[in-house]
Amino acid sequence: MDEIKDGLAEVACDVLVIGGGTAGPMAAYKAKVRNPKSRVILLEKANVRRSGAISMGMDGLNNAVIPGYATPEQYVKEITIANDGIVDQAPVLKYARNCYGIIEELDRFGIRFQKTENGDFDVKKVHHLGAYVLPMPNGDTVKKALYRQLRREQILISNRYMATRLLTSRDGHVAGAIAVNARTAEFLVVRAKTVILCMGAAGRLGLPQSGYLYGTYENATNSGDGYAMAYHAGAKLANLECYQINPLIKDYNGPACAYVAGPFGAYTTNAEGSRFIECDYWSGQMMQEFYNELQSGKGPVFLKLDHLHDETVTEIETILHKVERPSRGRFHEGRGTNYREKMVEMHISEIGFCSGHSASGVFVDDLARTTVPGLYAAGDMANVPHNYMLGAFTNGAVAGEDAADVASGIDLPEFDMAEVEAERERVLAPTRREDGVPPNQLEYKTRRLVNDYLQPPKVTAKMRLGQLRLEEVRDDLDTNMMVRDAHELMRSLEAASILDCADMAAAASLYREESRWGLYHNRVDFPDKNDADWFCHTLLSKKDGRMVAEKRAIEPYLVQIEEHERSAYDRQRILKQA
């Protein structure tokens, strides 16, 4: 395994789904159910059985809009306010209306949701305004349940194929994708009528404080390949300066997590054991307070559970040590941290792009369509703000159905074989060098520069310097990177995606000349929110080979936000009692 082989195969399908984590399997399933005659291919860099953010399952739904507990309109309001108003509400409203149907569907797949003794859903309140958090008692089986459905519907699954670029026809319609096998370096051209990108967050962008390249918050496979591919295909990407930054267990870099432990009575404190934030829901404003506390004499910050009853802690442990990031228990054991006795030291994560938690993603409308005809995006990489796992499922379903409908009405778009040849040359160039810099060093340097120059507080002069340094890394990557086997080839492609994302992070952050979303876009030289000039989306795209930025107006709100409601998320800090 891992020797580089020469090979090029071609297959064709109606709908191609790239990424088999959360949104991807649901998109593929829905496309096939919508049109059982269609050929649906699901391409995955790892293995669909255990890939993506929910590789080991999930403890619950963070944003379930369940009749009787919350209304879709209320949810839209909550997300609009939490995201500082920069929201096209139509996709959010669609999500809020569809997600209950998806919960019922997941229930049919065998995924259970916590009920009270009366048989009602046991919904918990974590957000500022409404209640949307619903535990999943057998959340560790999510991937298995999805996989069963994919097998039943005979979705064609290609594991260990990493997509590298999209193909487009002469008239700009998506025509498929080029992929390379992660273990043999053989190429696969997948022709398709429609393509759905479900490739997760750009989670390997900043460097974790530990210095370990793979010690990231996101599944470390999520290196932003979807963002890079969408960019190179000419799609527009929205609000990338609205980084993802999360409060995590220090060094372990996984969530502790407020959505699990919060409803049981755990909370975030400073070193004195005092609360300093009103609401543990992950927003940029909350992260700013978290950052301020870390910088103040009252840091570091902790998650406090030591006041809870022994049985309660045991219950929390059973969840935290079984799903999502189950090695948490081992980490605490190694440090001698028992939740009953010691508070858990917390820190802020490296930066990334992710719409699952913030709002940085490929621009999509309420049918999950990107700005490239025939190309869709769903899940963490599509800019439906704060959409989490249930958003990935729900918007994946929307994308799958529309992509199947569109595919059934068109012929297979033509593509240019010269594009494939050029891409093969680009990908294989590092394998032809006898000497040079290995991908891990290029990646390390890129990500260290991201930390040094691009993470907030954002300073204009620093970001400009960062751009210059990143240009030097790009020069090395283009002319001097060396790859010795197929596995390293995958890492070299990831290093290129990461560098693309770093360039986008710098360009987007420099473009928006105001501060917004708390810490996410805290621009020191433009400290105030400026609604007059910047109450809009910012879009990045590739035009004539260059990165350009533009403004896009927010669609008129479907759910009105009253003046006094707008600042709900601005009031995060607990005010001292007079």
Partner: protein, 77 residues
């Protein structure tokens, strides 16, 4: 520039007495999201080839014989 070979500890340990890779098992290699496990040509057993582990645990959870243990990578411990 010439390459060096710098040593690094890897967090995943395979109990060779329990591993049944010689009977054709490749489960841990198949499921690992980061694709860092391989079957050794020398020993015929699974081992961690690349130091690129997300300590996520599918390898340990899905191994049919309980041969895999995931530790926290040294830099994070």
């Amino acid at each position: 520039m010439p390459l060096a070979s710098s040593p690094t500890t890897v967090p995943v340990v395979v109990d060779e007495a329990k591993c049944i890779a010689e009977k054709g098992c490749t489960v841990c290699v198949d499921v690992c999201p980061l694709d860092v496990l391989r079957i050794s040509e020398e020993t015929g057993k699974a081992y961690m080839k690349y130091d690129e582990c997300w300590y996520c645990m599918p390898c340990e959870t899905d191994c049919p014989t309980g041969a895999v243990s995931v530790n926290i990578p040294y830099l994070l411990r």
